[in-house]
């Protein structure tokens, strides 16, 4: 019945500005908590997606000394000591499934009137198996094409669209740095991989052609390989290291190559994500705590102001429990109201800000649950002290002079 709730809750809505202020504190706390949490979730998802294109069974041998920076392997100087023979030499290591030398460089590509600059990756027929790049159409390289210096090309999805539009590219001749290549395949859309490279913006050609005809070098930049079983990956890594040290006649300290596994990249990435999210989480919980403290302060003020009301209620037969419940409910109501609005603001914020920062869009279910749960807990905690204070008010004050 309506009047019953008026009698119980009327005092809360009496001072609207004050109610608004205490609710705003909670809104800020809850919405920031939710926003930060959904950024955290989204960042996790982003890392996972990136890692997918660089499986845990993949090992990369990169020429030169390499730093892993923000999940990205950066070659600090050009090293010419990694040769195709090194790649061949690694084939004797047991447990390697696929192996491909890689030379990458820029090139201007042309088809009829269309020009563009893209990345050329000189690889062998095993490369797309290592990277698990699916073909949208056409076929993979043949072994003979690799060793026969055949000018054939597999196009990245974007490159194909930009050069050919809706035209069928199969069998067509494109010019890469003015040399004619025949298109034999097109990769399906892949997106950005763990090294932040757009894998749709590339062209694959035989490494032999890349080295001799296109770039005129005798070295490669890296070797990609995948292993049969994950358990042996550390052992295989060790063997690769030993073979290359021996072949290059260098010691561990001044070696001219680096071995990188998906695990290494993942580790750096999750570490930064973890640090970021724990920092952000503690800040937003602090926000909520401040909001809750605000509720405590405002409710305590309100209890002090409403001493007379509390005394009257007690004189009229309210038990301590009734008073405790009333004021506890008022605090919980404030935090809940702030919580609901905060969740709405936070969800709206996430849906707007995530795409803006290039994060995958996730609907923040678990952040919503977490923030709602925390809000209720904080609401109860915020309300305990003022509600307890309210029960301590003695109705004998009502008969005192001047009250």
């Amino acid at each position: 019945m309506f009047i019953k709730y008026r009698l119980l809750w009327g005092g809360l809505f009496h001072k609207k500005l004050r109610l608004l202020l205490s609710v705003i504190g909670i809104i800020i706390g809850v919405s920031s908590l939710l926003l930060m949490n959904s950024f955290g979730e989204s960042a996790k998802l982003k890392t996972l997606k990136e890692i997918e294109t660089f499986g845990p069974e993949v090992i990369m041998v990169v020429a030169g000394s390499v730093r892993v920076h923000g999940g990205r392997a950066i070659q600090t100087e050009i090293t010419t000591t990694l040769k195709p023979d090194d790649a061949e030499a690694l084939r004797k290591v047991k447990g390697i499934k696929y192996l491909s030398p890689v030379f990458n460089g820029d090139a201007i590509v042309r088809y009829l009137g269309n020009n563009l600059t893209t990345i050329i990756n000189g690889v062998n027929e095993e490369y797309i198996l290592i990277r698990k790049f699916p073909l949208a159409e056409g076929r993979n390289f043949l072994k003979d094409e690799i060793f026969g210096y055949k000018k054939v090309a597999i196009l990245g999805y974007k490159v194909k669209n930009q050069l050919f539009g809706n035209e069928d590219p199969m069998g067509k001749i494109i010019l890469i740095n003015k040399l004619p290549f025949r298109v034999i395949g097109v990769l399906a859309p892949i997106g950005i991989d763990a090294s932040n490279a757009d894998q749709d913006d590339q062209i694959l050609i035989p490494w032999s052609v890349a080295l001799s005809a296109l770039y005129n070098v005798d070295y490669i930049r890296s070797i990609y390989l995948s292993v049969e079983s994950l358990e042996e990956i550390s052992f295989i890594e060790k063997q690769i290291n030993e073979i290359l040290l021996k072949r290059h006649k260098v010691s561990e300290r001044n070696k001219d190559f680096q071995i990188i596994k998906a695990e290494d990249i993942l580790e750096v990435k999750t570490q930064t994500t973890k640090l970021f999210s724990s920092l952000v989480k503690s800040i937003s919980i602090l926000c909520l705590l401040v909001g809750a403290l605000g509720v405590t302060a405002i409710m305590t003020l309100s209890v002090n102001e409403r001493k007379k009301e509390i005394g009257i209620r007690k004189a009229l037969g309210a038990e301590d429990r009734d008073i405790l419940l009333q004021f506890l409910m008022e605090s919980i109501f404030i935090t809940l109201l702030g919580g609901i609005i905060g969740v709405l603001v936070g969800v709206a914020g996430s849906l707007i800000l995530l795409p803006l920062f290039n994060y995958p869009l996730v609907f923040p279910w678990s952040p919503i649950l977490i923030s709602s749960f925390l809000t209720i807990i904080f609401g109860i905690i915020a309300g305990i002290y003022p509600a307890y204070k309210a029960t301590k008010i003695d109705p004998i004050i009502l008969l005192r002079q001047g009250f």
């Binding site: 004189a315 037969g317 009734d322 009502l398």
Partner: protein, 225 residues
């Protein structure tokens, strides 16, 4: 035989401010029969409000026995006292003590909130009381929009809604002009005629005249009848 509603024997109460003890009540004996209208008079500071607090179960005496409506109440728990206050006692205060944000009607209904469910009949009954006290046009007014006399009539309606056996009034006309005071006392007189027991504190002899019996308290003890 007429039933005794209030029996006080040897009630004492001492207040401590810091280390200084001040004995406000020094052995109060009092018997009030059902249907009586008693006025308690005395100078300021003589202990009238303290005594009324004890009779109204808002405060506990240090010593003495208090039997209300046949029940020894000095050893009851806070919860039980709240229950008896709600069922048996109505209060009217000098300063009215209405809840400021609630309307006249809501203030009248407030005691019933602590009786469990508020029913539609309760609302009608509250309206009846307010109408009987001439407030039918003011039911949705807040206390700040009401005159002193009107506020006190709302407070009386609030005291009566629970059908109490005992009405306690501490200087009910203390903040009212003489016209409103007369009105309030006429209401009291009427209620008493219908069987309500009233204990009223006042230091105005004109007001005390409305009662059947007057007791005078001096320095915490009754002096003469």
């Amino acid at each position: 035989m007429v039933k005794k509603l209030v029996i006080l024997k040897g009630i004492t109460k001492t207040y401590y401010t810091g280390r200084i003890a001040y004995q406000v009540l020094r052995g109060i004996d009092l018997e009030v029969e059902e249907g009586e209208f008693l006025a308690i008079m005395g100078v300021s500071g003589s202990g009238k409000s303290t005594l009324l607090n004890i009779i109204g179960l808002l405060d506990k005496p240090d010593y003495g026995t208090y039997i209300l409506d046949g029940q020894e109440v000095s050893k009851l728990s806070k919860k039980e006292l709240a229950y008896i206050r709600n069922r048996k006692i109505g209060f009217v205060f000098q300063a009215f003590h209405l809840v400021p944000w609630a309307t006249a009607l809501e203030n009248v209904l407030m005691p019933l909130l602590y009786r469990g469910n508020l029913k539609k009949e309760d609302e009608e009954r509250a309206l009846q009381f307010l109408t009987r006290l001439g407030l039918e046009k003011r039911i949705n007014a807040k206390p700040s929009e009401l005159s002193g006399g009107e506020q006190q009539r709302v407070a009386i309606a609030r005291a009566l809604i629970t059908k109490p056996k005992l009405l306690l009034a501490d200087e009910p006309t203390g903040n009212l002009d003489s016209k409103s005071s007369q009105e309030v006392m006429k209401i009291f007189k009427e209620l008493n005629k219908n069987g309500l027991t009233i204990i009223m504190v006042t230091h105005d002899p004109e007001i005390a005249k409305f009662a059947q019996r007057i007791k005078i308290i001096k320095d915490g003890i009754f002096v003469e009848e």
